[in-house]
Amino acid sequence: MTDATSNILDEATPEHRRGSGLMRLALSNEFGLALLIALAFGIFAMTLPGFTSPFSLFTIGRQIGIDTMIGLAMMAVIVTGGLDLSVGAIGVCAAMVFGYLAQIAGVPLPLAIPLAIAFGSVLGFINGYVVVRSGVHSFIITLASMSIFFGIMIFLTQAQSFNALPLAVPAMGKLRVGGPISILLIITLVVCAALSIFYRYTTLGRQMLAAGANARAAELSGIRTGRIIIACHMLTGGLAALAGLMLTARTGAAVPSMAGHLGQDWLLPAFLAPVLGGTLLSGGRVSVIGTLLGAAFVTIMTSGLLLMRVGEFWILACLGLMLLLAVLADRLRHQVLRARGMI
């Protein structure tokens, strides 16, 4: 779905293999993003009053936490070259189930949270099962399921929110740890670490990558790709549910509109973070850290631009230009480094 050349760190290209470990690090997408983030953060911190205030840092961190989680949810299904348009719908459905359990049914939080995440996985399972059994592209299946999941949720809730959740839930959204760091960001970092280990060291994680890189080869080597794809969709569902719960904590209530009509508001952050971070849309390569850095970059840029008070209606255009400048700069850095490395 994307240019082969877009893969900045293409493991298969021999010239990279020749470079030293340091060189490979310097060439990596993650390194470039980290550099850009440091640069943007430095400039904003020096020039914008209030950018480094505890409140500002807290809100930035919290936003990064939520957007990263949304990005990870999409990343988990991009691994196999599929996609899931229904992440937002799943996230909201899980949040509403959580709201029902915690507020109406009186289920204690330590039980309600895993139940909601499990519910997200079940919705993911439905997606995965239909995709595998029908052989239709996940784009179409999840387009339909987005409509169905969200429609059932709206029908059952009649668009009403759950706004009398146990006080611990809104408190989570405001909780700061170690100064200005949001607890939601900490949760995301823990999930990032777990996912990194999962993709690197577990059989299932490695099989997901193998199935994404080359489904036929994976099948021949005995991997049951159908099951793997279903597992990916379940992981996506669970992560989307977690993102929905984090948003619920931030909002202090389970709100049907928190991801917009049909949950479409999530689609942009869901794709943007992983793709900026170097995940290939065609599958086979993921970068958990890249997704985190991608979300961080976008959040910091947005926050900086808002503080700069560019004309009321021009922020979006500026954000687009910045994004373009950033990826161009990264591309340039890569070319320069590679040219030097070749000499």
Partner: protein
């Protein structure tokens, strides 16, 4: 890379240089709608006028780039960081925006839910807006009157995720029920607050059912515009219609006789009065607990910013009518709702 960095830095510095210095302030009001929408255009002028008339530190209209709850929250957090201390907010969600408002209050700011209410319990001071349910109810009553007291009504409205939509559906139904079966609501079409789907669905409906309806009531901006255009297109003056808001298309259709009238809201008055109250409250006044608050489905602290039915006779003079309402509101507010030292 270097040159790009230079350009980036120059861009940043340039933008920073343009922004005004943040010296102290007084009451810095930010008027924040839920997203870009023509309804709120009057807020910009209202903020400017209030800033001049009441000597405010700021009266700025700041718009989220999209209709997304998250975008609005991010903008509000940023405005708080920028030193704004008073907010007029159209809630992106009646419940969801409460969290952001409570953050504003925690950081020493104050906010009024404007043009739409926040659901109780809320940290917002009160809600200043159109009583959406009542407006839909009154509009439907006008429509029923125009239809001669009986017939079938179609109702076109906005997004279902907006709780106001449910209030409107119920209000239209209530007005119809009061006729004891003479008037029935035959169809509700929702989720059409965007031009293209609105056009497709409304035209499809009229194509199949134009003969089966006698009246149309619309309770959202885009469907009102689209339905007015569709009636003009099929040249039908038999079907009566009552719209909402003051889009040029709707007003022109009223003058030309395709639409019977529209329920006007008072966005300018909301912005102007809201800024005034926020300044008063910051400089020594308090809200009276026993003030004559109205209540609606969302909150028990509601102030009606006024709604007016405009038909062909009044389509040219509605601005004066709204000014009059705003003046009365402003004159009575300090007396009725505030205790000042």
């Amino acid at each position: 890379m270097k040159s790009v960095a230079k350009i980036t830095a120059a861009l940043l510095l340039g933008a920073v240089a343009c922004s005004p210095a943040l010296a102290d302030p007084g009451t810095k009001v930010a008027l924040v709608p839920g997203g870009p929408h023509p309804y709120f255009a009057a807020w910009e002028q209202a903020g400017k006028d209030a800033m001049k008339d009441f000597n405010l530190g700021a009266g700025d209209y700041r718009v989220p780039q999209k209709w997304e709850l998250a975008q609005q929250s991010t903008l509000l957090e940023s405005l708080l960081t920028q030193g704004y201390n008073s907010f007029l907010i159209f809630p992106g969600d009646a419940v969801g925006t409460n969290a952001t408002v409570s953050e504003i209050v925690d950081n020493g700011g104050q906010a009024i839910a404007t043009a739409g209410c926040l659901k109780d319990p809320t940290p917002a001071l009160f809600c200043l807006g159109t009583d959406t349910g009542n407006s839909a109810y009154l509009g439907t009553k006008e429509l029923i009157k125009a239809m001669g007291g009986k017939g079938r009504i179609a109702h076109f409205t906005g997004f279902l995720v907006d709780p106001n939509t449910q209030l409107r559906i119920d209000a239209v139904q209530k007005a119809a029920d009061e006729t004891n079966g003479d008037v029935t609501v035959v169809q509700v079409i929702a989720d059409i607050d965007a031009p293209q789907p609105a056009e497709e669905k409304i035209n499809a409906y009229l194509a199949a059912h134009a003969a089966d309806v006698d009246g149309i009531v619309t309770t959202a901006w885009v469907p009102a515009v689209t339905a007015a255009n569709s009636l003009r297109k099929i040249g039908d003056k038999r079907i009566k219609m009552v719209g909402i808001d003051h889009d040029e298309v709707v007003l022109q259709a009223i003058k030309d006789g395709f639409v019977n009238g529209t329920m006007l809201q008072n966005p300018y008055g909301q912005g102007y009065l809201g800024s005034y109250v926020l300044d008063k409250l910051r400089t020594g006044c308090t809200l009276k607990a026993d003030a004559p608050w109205k209540s609606n489905a969302l909150t028990a602290k509601f102030v009606d910013s006024g709604t007016v039915f405009v038909d062909a006779a009044t389509a040219d003079t509605y601005v004066d009518a709204m000014r009059g309402i705003t003046k009365t509101l402003l004159a009575n507010f300090e007396k009725d709702f505030m205790a000042c030292k």
